[in-house]
Each structure stands twice: as structure tokens, then as C-alpha cells.
């Protein structure tokens, strides 16, 4: 079978039937991990969003690369990705990395991730590496994303990570708990919580708040040195740079973030000269586009192991900079993948490497018994609530994609219906699992989409010009051609509205023709009743979003999204990051 035939397979709904000549990458009982290369193994996962149990997670069919990012990883979707990356060899892998024929493939290959399965795979990978030759690092977004994570204030995940054996982590959604809770959790964590780009504000330092280093102002250790059988690896932490902008500042009023490129270069140079490491890694929550730019400008980092943008990239991107080359990887989300970076280290440098991103298929990787028992114990007190069946999904419900997802449309419909609003806004988060047709939408699944520390809803009057201003502002955070001015989320989802979007347009000049669903243009000076949630400024007055959506689901009983409403797109026809688009492309 040649590459073209292979690429065609998943799109012909053929996965459910017989596939002669095509084997899975690993079958039950086979060794799951790649053979060890070199002498040191780095295991990396990121953005698990507190998904302790296996889930379905559909990758996007819209992930546009704009300007210099056009046609480059990670902005390639579906068949284009399969054509670009020959390392994707089996249908199971093709299903892991793409949205193609998602429902049929998901039914065939089963759920992904789950900490019990991840634990087994990690232990096998560490065993293969040999004693003392591996570390496990976590890119963050670990303490948020499930009901139990919220109700235990992230502590269920701290303990799960301790059991998993995480050595080093950094964060983003971790910082949506209150600052003192974050510090407490970081102490309960058996590994090291690192971040070179979080400092206390000068006022807060003056007031004497708790920090790691009073002279530098670092709230957490900027880096750690992990020694593995004589090989020294520096792991620098890079937390999400725009946390106080994309998420509420009020939980972390004394901390300041940013990319801090100059500080990073200085730190890398210091580590290189004083610590004599064999390798320097950046454990990053920048997002892949920011990491790619950073790698081109900062010298002396061997690999940036990234997350945030949830791009499950099977191969690393090699970036040249004035000091040499830096690998940039991104390990997806929701516990769906485990990244394995094998390094041949010696004489203060990396002499060779091999990178694999392993999909974690829960029905071919046995569950670890101790982790299974722990997860059951964590969930037990909340089971009745989590398992409540709110409605049945008649079609696939998912979120991920630049403009809209079917689950988001249900959330937006809930807001307009339950809160009696004309229009609604729902944030373009990239977390949230998928529900297959015929499955129950339980409170557990709803919380996957909505669970966070600032879930309160609002209904307020907004002028048409304000609606446009919000759309423009978020759109610039997604499509600004300078990655350092992006935030890594997707476009805000809208209910009751359609619009035209020109991603290549100038900042604050990409949105036009904002209409209601009857086709009537929005009036800039007229007031509209708008509902939404997850406000970052001050706390909104309404009930949590999950209660609003649950009310809608219980009432509807079955959910069918007849048509995904997506904006009309201008100027992006043929973009390799766009496929099977439901809206109009002009």
C-alpha cells in the first residue's frame, strides 16, 4: 500500500471494517515503548487537564497558520498532516494525530490516555532506559479540567503526579487557584515546580510575600539540574507567559509573568558556564508558535519540550539559531500522548537524539492497578454527581478547532436559551473531551468542558460596537503574525451570531458582517442582550456555566447539532490548516 492509499483510508470510513495488510502499531502484549537510544531518556507529557480516566479527544480540522506560520507545523491538519509526516505509519497512529473519520475510528481504536494506562507506559519506558537514566517532566495544565480537580483544589492531581513519578513540572491553569493554594500544592508535589518567568512584583517583594529567591524575585525555582548516571540535564521552567491576561489576575495579584526572553538567555548562559550540563531543556508552556520563535532567538537550549497549544506533533521541528540548533516539540493534551526524547549525552553536549510521541491507547496498554485504585478512591465521594446522565448525544460533540466545536455550540445555545439572551459568548479553550454519538452526556463530560475556578455566568447589554471589539481582540490573540503577541487559545465561540473573518487582515480589522441568524446586520450603536461566562476582570454574578448547560441538557434530553455554525472565512482557501470546513470560504 503506498502513501496515497494510506492517506485515503481513514477518510473512507473503512477503519470499522477489515483492513488487510495494515497492522496496528502495537497489539496487546507487545512491547509498547521504542527501543532505547543513547544513554538518557526524557519522558514528557503536558496539558492533561486533570483527565485521570481514558477519554475521547478529537484533533482539529481547523488550525490555521497565518503569515510565516502558513503550511508549517503545527498548522497542518488531517490528510495534509499524514502526507507531510511519513513517520505516521499505521491507521491507529493516523487516528491519534488527526480528526479523520473520527467517530468510526474512535469506536474501533477506543479511548486514549488515562493515568493508569499512562503509568504502565511510563514504567515500561523507564524500565527500558535502565535504572537512573530517565526523568519524567510535565508541562502543566495538570491541576484543572475535571470536577474532582476543582473540588480538591488540584490536590487529586498532585497526588496522581506523585504516583506517576513526575520529577519536574511548570504551569498555567495551576495559577487559576488562589496563590497560597498554588504554593501549598507545589509543596505537596514530590518533584520540582519550576518557572524562570514568574517573579513577584516589586510592591509584593517589599511587603515580604513568600518567594523562592528574594534577590531575583523568582517565585519558583527557575531551573533544576537532574543527574542521570553521571549525565547532567538542566530543566528550565517556562510557565504560560500571559496567565494574568488570559486568566484572572485576581488569584495571583502579586506575580508577574511574560516571555522574558533576555532573562532566559542570561539564565541559559549562566547554567552553561556554572553547572556544566550535558544538555539544557526548556519545559515550556508557551505554546508551539511562541516556542518556535523563541528557539530562533535564544541560543544554548538543546530542546524546548512544549505544550499549551495542544498540538500533538509526531516529529520535532529543528530550529536554527545563532548558537546552533534547538528541537521544538509539542506533546498534545488530555493524556493522549507520552513523548520520549532519547539523548546520547557526553562531554557536555548532545551527540545524538531520537524523538517519539507515543499515543496512549487504553485498550492496548494495561491499566496500573495501584493508579486504578487511587482514581476510584478520588472519584468515589463524587460519583453520584459525576455520573448523572444529563442527555444523550445524537452526534459527535467536541470542542477543538479555531472557530467552533459542536460542544461549544451546545454551550452557546444553553446560554442564550436558559439565560434568555439574544447572543452568547463562550471562550475558545482548547481543553474539553469528545462525546461519541449515542453516548450519554454525563455531568463528568460537561465538567470536562467547563470546570474551572471562575465559571460564573453573566447577562448584560452590549452595543454592537462592543461585540465587534471583543471579536477583534480575541481574533488578534489568535492570528497576530507575531507569535509573541498571541495567547494560544482559539476564537471566542458565539451563539446567535455569524460573522466574516479574514485571518490575514490587519490587527483589529479582521471581522466584518456581524449578523444575527436571520441575516440581519448588527447595529454598532444598538444594545443587545449578551450572555457569557469565564470573565477575567471581576467575578460575574450568575450561576456557574455547568449549571446553566445542565439545565438545558436535562430539558432537551437528546442533543443533535444540526449544523455547526462557523464564520465565513476570507483569504484562507487552500490553507493546509483547513479541511472539511462547515462554513463558507471565499
Amino acid at each position: 500500500m503506498d502513501r496515497r492509499e494510506f492517506v485515503g483510508l481513514l477518510s473512507k470510513a473503512s477503519v470499522a471494517g477489515m483492513l488487510p495488510g495494515v497492522s496496528g502499531w502495537a497489539m496487546a502484549g507487545e512491547k509498547l515503548q521504542p527501543p532505547m537510544f543513547g544513554n538518557t531518556r526524557i519522558l514528557h507529557f503536558t496539558d492533561c487537564h486533570a483527565q485521570l480516566l481514558p477519554v475521547y479527544f478529537r484533533e482539529p480540522n481547523v488550525n490555521l497558520g497565518i503569515g510565516p506560520a502558513y503550511g508549517k507545523l503545527p498548522h497542518i491538519v488531517g490528510k495534509n498532516l499524514l502526507k507531510k509526516i511519513p513517520e505516521i505509519k499505521t491507521l491507529r497512529e493516523a487516528h491519534a494525530y488527526t480528526y479523520l473519520d473520527f467517530t468510526a475510528a474512535a469506536e474501533k481504536f477506543g479511548k486514549v490516555g488515562g493515568f493508569a494506562h499512562l503509568k504502565t507506559l511510563i514504567d515500561q519506558c523507564r524500565g527500558e532506559a535502565g535504572a537512573g537514566r530517565s526523568i519524567l517532566i510535565d508541562g502543566g495544565d495538570t491541576w484543572q479540567g475535571s470536577g474532582t480537580a476543582l473540588w480538591t483544589r488540584g490536590k487529586d492531581m498532585v497526588e496522581a503526579c506523585n504516583m506517576l513519578g513526575v520529577d519536574v513540572m511548570t504551569g498555567h491553569w495551576e495559577f487559576t487557584y488562589q496563590d497560597n493554594e498554588i504554593l501549598e500544592n507545589a509543596k505537596l508535589f514530590n518533584g520540582e515546580f519550576v518557572a524562570q518567568n514568574i517573579k513577584a512584583s516589586e510592591d509584593a517583594l517589599f511587603d515580604g510575600i513568600e518567594v523562592y529567591d528574594e534577590d531575583s524575585g523568582h517565585v519558583f525555582k527557575p531551573y533544576v539540574i537532574k543527574e542521570m548516571q553521571g549525565k547532567r540535564v538542566a530543566v528550565i521552567g517556562q510557565a504560560f507567559p500571559y496567565t494574568p491576561i488570559a486568566n484572572p489576575k485576581r488569584f495571583i495579584p502579586d506575580w508577574t509573568f511574560g516571555i522574558q526572553e533576555d532573562d532566559l538567555q542570561e539564565l541559559v548562559d549562566d547554567i552553561r558556564s556554572s553547572e556544566k550540563p550535558d544538555a539544557v531543556l526548556l519545559l515550556s508552556h508557551n505554546g508551539m508558535d511562541v516556542d518556535l520563535k523563541l528557539a530562533s532567538r535564544v541560543s544554548g537550549i538543546d530542546a524546548i519540550m512544549g505544550g499549551h497549544t495542544h498540538d500533538g506533533m509526531p516529529v520535532p521541528v529543528v530550529v536554527e539559531n545563532p548558537g546552533g540548533k534547538t528541537l521544538v516539540t509539542n506533546a498534545g493534551s488530555n493524556g493522549k500522548y507520552l513523548a520520549v526524547l532519547d539523548l546520547d549525552l557526553g562531554n557536555g553536549k548532545v551527540n545524538g537524539f531520537k524523538y517519539s510521541l507515543l499515543p496512549v491507547f487504553s485498550n492496548i496498554i494495561p491499566a496500573d492497578a495501584a493508579m486504578t485504585a487511587y482514581i476510584a478512591k478520588v472519584r468515589q465521594p463524587y460519583l453520584a454527581k459525576l455520573n448523572e446522565k444529563l442527555a444523550t448525544a445524537e452526534n459527535l460533540l467536541y470542542r477543538r478547532g479555531n472557530f467552533n466545536g459542536t460542544f461549544d455550540q451546545v454551550i452557546c445555545d444553553s446560554l442564550t436559551n436558559v439565560l434568555d439572551a439574544q447572543f452568547s459568548f463562550s471562550p475558545g479553550f482548547r481543553w474539553g473531551t469528545s462525546v461519541l454519538p449515542g453516548e450519554a452526556i454525563t455531568m463528568d463530560r460537561l465538567l470536562d468542558q467547563t470546570c474551572m475556578t471562575y465559571p460564573e455566568t453573566y447577562v448584560r447589554n452590549m452595543k454592537g460596537e462592543q461585540i465587534k471589539a471583543i471579536l477583534e481582540d480575541v481574533c488578534d490573540n489568535l492570528f497576530n503574525q507575531d507569535p509573541y503577541r498571541q495567547q494560544g487559545g482559539d476564537m471566542v465561540r458565539v451563539g446567535g451570531l455569524t460573522y466574516t473573518c479574514e485571518p490575514n487582515g490587519a490587527s483589529l480589522n479582521r471581522i466584518s458582517e456581524i449578523r444575527d441568524l436571520n441575516g440581519k446586520l448588527i447595529d454598532a450603536n444598538k444594545d443587545y442582550r449578551v450572555a457569557g461566562w469565564a470573565t477575567v476582570g471581576s467575578k460575574s454574578p450568575g450561576e456557574p456555566i455547568w449549571d446553566v448547560v445542565a439545565t438545558y441538557l436535562r430539558d432537551k434530553k437528546t442533543i443533535k447539532v444540526e449544523k455547526l455554525i462557523e464564520p465565513k472565512l476570507k483569504g484562507v482557501a487552500g490553507n493546509p490548516g483547513l479541511a472539511d470546513y462547515q462554513g463558507e470560504i471565499v
Binding site: L205, F206, G208, E214, D215, P241, Y242, P244, I245, A246, N247, K249, T256, F257, G258, I259, D262, H308, T309, H310, P427, G428, F429, R430, W431, A469, I470, D473, V474, D476, N477, N480, D482, Y484, R485, Q487, G488, G489, D490, V492, S507, A534, T535, V536, G537
Partner: protein, 153 residues
Amino acid sequence: MEVSTTRRGFIKGLIAVGTLLALPATLLAAMVRPKAAFGSKEIDASLKSLFGDASIEASDKVYLKVPEIAENSAVVPITITTDIEDVESISVIIDKNPNPLSANFKLTDAVAPEVSARVKMGQSSPVRALVKAKGKVYFTTKEVKVTIGGCGG
């Protein structure tokens, strides 16, 4: 004065010293504040008022540290340093602010040319750092983004 090795103690010590100097510094500022330059709504008028007919050129010896995206647009931290010698003044211009001139520091040979300030920004804008030395003006520019925030993943 309390003797302490901590940063906090050190800063508190400095404040004790600083209060002695505060009064003359305030008076000095009032005397030299270029009112016309600060009051102008036009960049060119501010420049003219500050620097007269001095030549203005881009320079890679002026270093401007600003955030790529402001965490709080009411207090955007900004630090300017330079390798240029004999610096007479350092100024900050924010193109899209209603009054573009945001700061103007007069320096003497006795101090290192490094200044920090917090500036208010109404919207995304280029921020310019201008260094005057030996009758010439050198500048560098960086874009600072102001966003309403939220909706990030």
C-alpha cells in the same frame, strides 16, 4: 537604620535615605519639566519641543525592555538603558497615547544611563525610547500590545 541582608531590608533602608532627598528632587522636576512637550498631542511637536532641530536616528545601542503584551495597561513597566556615552536625557514616547510624551529624564555624568518607569497605555502602540547625547538623539522602538484579555486556552 536597620542593617539587613535581605532585598526587602535593603529597599526599606533606601527609602529612609530617599526621603531626605525627595524634596529637592521634586523642586528640580518642577523647574525643568518641559510643559509644552508633555502637553502636546502630536509626536512631532513633542520632539520639536524637546530636542529642537537635533538630528534623530535609530540606534542599536538603545535598549528598551517592555512586555510584548501588557499585563495591566495602567502600569506598563518600562526600562531603558544605553551604551551611548555622555547621555543628557532619556525620553519615552507612546505613539497612540493622547499625549504621546510619557516620560523625560534629565541625566548627569554622575549616574549610569538606566531608567525605569511605569507608563499608562490606552491601546496597543509602538513605544519609543529616545536618548539625547552630545546634541544628537538616538532611538529604538518596540510594540506593546494592549488587550481586553480572557478567552485564552
